[in-house]
């Protein structure tokens, strides 16, 4: 697989899986308004995944649905951070915040890419991410002195580093005020047991009628 296809799948898989995990809060978020906002952000992330899978599908001679739903768990290229099943609001906001900051660093780099198609898509995605960052930052500011939130950020930090290639990690550390510790990083390419469980649920309907035109 080309490096470009690998990159596109890493980006798409991160966005799909984080969107899917965040969508688990639909109907059970702490307030109605937050429920709508959080679900909407989750949908946006899945929309970004769709656009990235479309580019990857051209590169691989496949189609976006097949890439999203028909691969084996080991073939997914998402980082372990997005796979974690966190049914706790402090951890969920900590992940949202760390993911958005990492995604900001990554997207900013992609917007400078020589790959015009990818740079253009990154710029388009970034215009929507402005509101995701606003949402994540307002929550992080509100929970900053809450011990459960601080503990969750520290716990997830080694996972957050795994979103980025090593050269971009110091910038993320600067943004969130933490330090890079390479030894602890949960790297992309390894998976948590939660991923296989997620994929079983996510692909359940699609697997029920293989090859169907939906």
């Amino acid at each position: 697989m080309s490096e470009r296809a690998q990159l596109l799948l890493s980006l798409a898989d991160d966005e799909l899986i984080v969107g899917w995990r965040d969508s688990e809060w639909t109907g059970i978020a702490p307030t109605l308004e937050e429920d709508v906002a959080f679900s909407s952000i989750a949908q946006n992330e899945i929309g970004h995944a769709r656009a990235l899978y479309e580019l990857a599908a051209v590169e691989l001679g496949s189609d976006p649905d097949a890439l999203a739903f028909d691969r084996a768990p080991a073939e997914y290229r998402c980082a372990p951070l997005v796979e974690l099943h966190l049914m706790d609001w402090a951890h969920t906001i900590a992940r949202r915040y760390l993911y958005e900051e990492a995604d900001r660093v990554r997207t900013t780099a992609l917007m400078q890419s020589d790959d015009a198609e990818l740079a253009g898509l990154a710029a388009k995605i970034d215009r929507e991410e402005v509101y995701h960052r606003m949402h994540a930052e307002m929550w992080a500011a509100r929970l900053r002195d809450e011990p459960r939130f601080k503990a969750a950020v520290e716990e997830l930090w080694p996972y957050a580093l795994g979103i980025l290639e090593p050269a971009l990690r110091p910038e993320l550390a600067r943004l969130v005020g933490l330090s890079v510790d390479a030894a602890q990083t949960h790297e992309r390419g390894t998976h948590t047991p939660e991923l296989a469980e997620l994929l079983t649920v996510m692909t359940e309907v699609r697997r029920s009628e293989p090859g169907a035109q939906w």
Binding site: T31, E33, E34, V36, A37, S40, Y131, M134, R142
Partner: protein, 96 residues
């Protein structure tokens, strides 16, 4: 938590109309939440978020002397319009 009344503008130049409200801890949260509730389907070009406490409501008017000529329902324009049309010899192109 406090209540923010939300007014939305559908197109540039149009008046803002009351759309509903948002319960939020502060203006930052109200901004983020109202965006999603009242704007994510492209139904608004702008929103006004007004703390409910800032609204000064007026509901009562004294009308002790029955000065109904001041009210729009005190003056029937329909009959006078009909008379004027008859005098001018014109009839309306559509009924009413």
């Amino acid at each position: 938590m406090s209540v923010f009344e939300v007014f939305r503008q559908e197109r540039k130049g149009q008046p803002f109309a009351h759309a509903g409200s948002i319960v939020a801890p502060d203006a930052t949260f109200a901004d983020a939440w109202a965006r999603e509730q009242y704007g994510r389907r492209g139904e608004s070009v702008a929103l006004w978020l007004v703390p409910r406490d800032a609204i000064h409501q007026v509901t009562e008017w004294a009308d002790e002397f029955d000065l109904k000529y001041r009210r729009v329902d005190g003056y029937s324009i329909k009959a006078r319009l009909k008379e004027a049309r008859e005098r001018a010899g014109t009839t309306p192109s559509v009924a009413g």
